[in-house]
Symmetry: C2
Subunit: 436 residues, 2 copies
């Protein structure tokens, strides 16, 4: 994915809020989402620009979109656009980039675009796609090592980890958009010293900081997707909070993996930031220590090795009920880098389809918890508090081993480097409600 | 679910083929499916009667269906009917039972019904529903014990088994209807004595004999479904073959469970046999040995304990390429009973929703492999051949440790008892194609 005019950091938009230095959605981003407004309850596609949404349905009606994407722009989810593939994604992004550029459009054209803009604060942001299948991976070797250390101190990393991009199926139905309240789940809890489990509200509720990737055209059942084709099949990314009930998980997960400990809810950020917008932040895949095995050939590709990483900074913030009452701002718990993932998004995709499993437009691939080695780079409380043995201490004196009712978890992410325009992922928020 | 006139074994249909003693689809069954014909490629709902399909779209147009189900009868999948709930399911089944009864309809009405009948052999049977989420359980204690014995001889059954209806998420996209060819998957294989895995076609390809249950109305996210409500939310069942690549599974499944070893394909039978049709075969749940713990209260309900079991006989048949060439008939490998499951379908449903996970119309719950203790009641080759150590011997001299290319696996199921009309589940077929 080469750089083109849409990435030029010198370009500015005539939507002023897009030009603020810390804007998540400058002219160089143009992420896609789905929204509705109180004035118009139709679910429809939009593109974020500063603090505005460009309504794609309206833009199509105003004759502003490239012909091939007009039918897809009428759908209530991104799936039809995802199915069109990378050339169509590029075409619509290039057209919107021109239309919103402070330098380019003639006054009449700009007026037509203005009629399609909606203030983001007046919109409800919805799930961007119908997620047919959701798969969650485990691609951070630091996360796998930390969690493994708690369960199997003598043998933290299992023998398959450096060969297999470990993943498992998640639940599609309970994925919600940022802002949806998260009810603390009930489940079977069995402390190690108890003779029997009890059915009760989860005590050890946790977040997991992840990146989610939306699949484009995909493959037919029985066919594989080579790693070299990954850029044609990965549309864009969101922040993903894979809420986890650690006490339910400990008791249920053998031998078939996590189930009720995960499927009560997962939250994603509403704006899908395209991999094209992130092209200036593509970096080599994480270098493997010389002692690690080389990946098997189906997981090796020159472009992926040199450009498969993404230089993203990912943060977790917490706002407790007490902080909210006091008018405090959220507290940042952690800040980590997506460059430290052991497997690239392309490798996750190619592995998933390597047995002929059919991937479809709108499928969501979760990266797994993004963690580094230092404490303040760990992407979940299980790791940050080391299973609750070393609690999180907040500036107001509160402590957390795990999440309390009334806590709001806010994930943020962005890409920044000299010579490129900052690209933000927006926010992924979820507030914990008491068990029902 | 009480018995009514639709269960009366003395009733016969004017569709003669429905009255044969071994018919799967007599007047007392009336399973639902989706089909198309070469003459009319519209995907549409149908109900099986003998060797005919009653076209529900045509029946609605002919004024033959109860008013409340007419909109749902126009859909290309069962999902809208599943969403209507048990009273609507009963109403349409009762109406069709009357219309197809040899004794009841007047000539004019019968002629109208006849115009809606399609020969089943001229139809292509499709997936009966859009399966949003597919969950596979592990509810046979004999299967869990057998598989555990191979992996952990000292400790075959994990401590959670008798408390937790163990389940995990499966892949919805790769579920196919009976008759679809199954391509042998590639994957990472690592024999225990090899220093590294290789990427190659699966060698140890297996079937798994299961029952799949389709969910009806379901629950909203954050709400639970009490076990007592299960009959309102379980529409009907199909045969399910959860194809499994055992060598891929062994290497990949730690720590998050099976993934590529399962998601290359799962096959279901096309006719959804309603739990109402199976009411005469409801039996008490499997009696638990006195030494086993009682289930936690959310998994206990009087009706479920006394009627939660289903007296089904389930069979696996095999037709190899050599047998096909010789004109041989399929060979029956196993015949087991669904009454020996440790958890009822209702318990699987209630457990799934016990954390507030939202179940939706068209979701599919797999029972897990149905196995007994005797060799010829084991529902997969892994157990039948005890990991290949004791091969299956076929009458023509062929042997199988696992499936060979050209093998066709045929699942069959039925309910039979004195005083009730036999109810069949039909067939679930899949032919193994060489790796691509």
């Amino acid at each position: 994915m080469s750089l083109n005019f849409t990435h030029d950091p010198a370009r500015r938009s005539w939507v002023d809020s897009a030009n603020l230095p810390d804007a998540d959605f400058p002219l160089q981003n143009l992420p896609f989402g789905v929204f509705r407004t109180s004035g118009n309850p139709t679910r429809r596609l939009g593109v974020a620009i500063g603090d505005r949404i460009l309504d794609l349905r309206a833009a199509a009606a105003a004759g502003l979109l490239p012909e091939p994407v007009i039918p897809a722009s009428q759908h209530p989810s991104l799936n039809a656009l995802l199915a069109l593939g990378a050339p169509a994604w590029s075409a619509v992004r290039a057209r919107l980039s021109e239309l919103l550029d402070a330098a380019s459009p003639v006054a009449e054209l700009r007026q037509r675009v203005e009629t399609c803009l909606v203030p983001m604060r007046s919109a409800t942001l919805l799930l961007p796609a119908h997620i047919g299948d959701y798969t969650d991976f485990y691609a951070s070797i630091h996360h796998a090592t930390n969690v493994g250390s708690m369960l199997r101190p003598e043998n933290p990393l299992l023998p398959n980890y450096k060969w297999v991009p470990i993943g498992y199926h998640g639940r599609g139905s309970s994925i919600v958009a940022s802002g949806a309240a998260i009810r603390r789940p009930h489940g079977q809890l069995k402390p190690a010293d108890a003779p029997a489990p009890v059915f009760a509200p989860c005590k050890n509720l946790d977040y997991e900081l992840e990146i989610g990737a939306f699949v484009g055209p995909g493959n037919a059942l029985g066919e594989r997707l080579p790693l070299s084709a990954a850029p044609q099949h990965l549309f864009g990314i969101v922040l993903l909070n894979d809420w986890s009930a650690r006490d339910i998980q400990t008791w249920e997960y053998q031998p078939l993996g996590p189930f009720l400990s995960k499927n009560f809810a997962s939250t994603i950020s509403p704006w899908v930031v395209t991999l094209e917008a992130l092209a200036p932040f593509r970096v080599p895949a994480m270098p493997r220590p010389a002692s690690d095995p080389a990946p098997l050939p189906y997981l090796v590709d020159h472009y992926d090795a040199t450009h498969g990483g993404l230089d993203l900074t990912l943060e977790v913030w917490l706002l407790t009920a007490k902080m909210r009452l006091a008018g405090d701002t959220p507290h940042r718990i952690s800040r980590g880098k997506f460059t430290e993932m052991y497997w690239t998004l392309g490798q996750l995709l190619a592995h998933h389809a390597s047995n002929g499993c059919n991937l479809s437009p709108g499928d969501l691939l979760g990266s797994g918890t993004v963690s580094g080695t230092a404490r303040d780079t760990r992407g979940c409380l299980l790791e940050y508090t080391w299973r609750g043995t070393d609690p999180l201490r907040l500036p107001n004196g509160e402590e957390r081993k795990f999440l309390a009712d009334g806590d709001e978890v806010i994930l943020r992410g962005y890409a920044e480097r000299p010579g490129a325009r900052r690209i933000g992922l927006g926010e992924c928020r979820g507030l914990i409600m008491p068990a029902g």
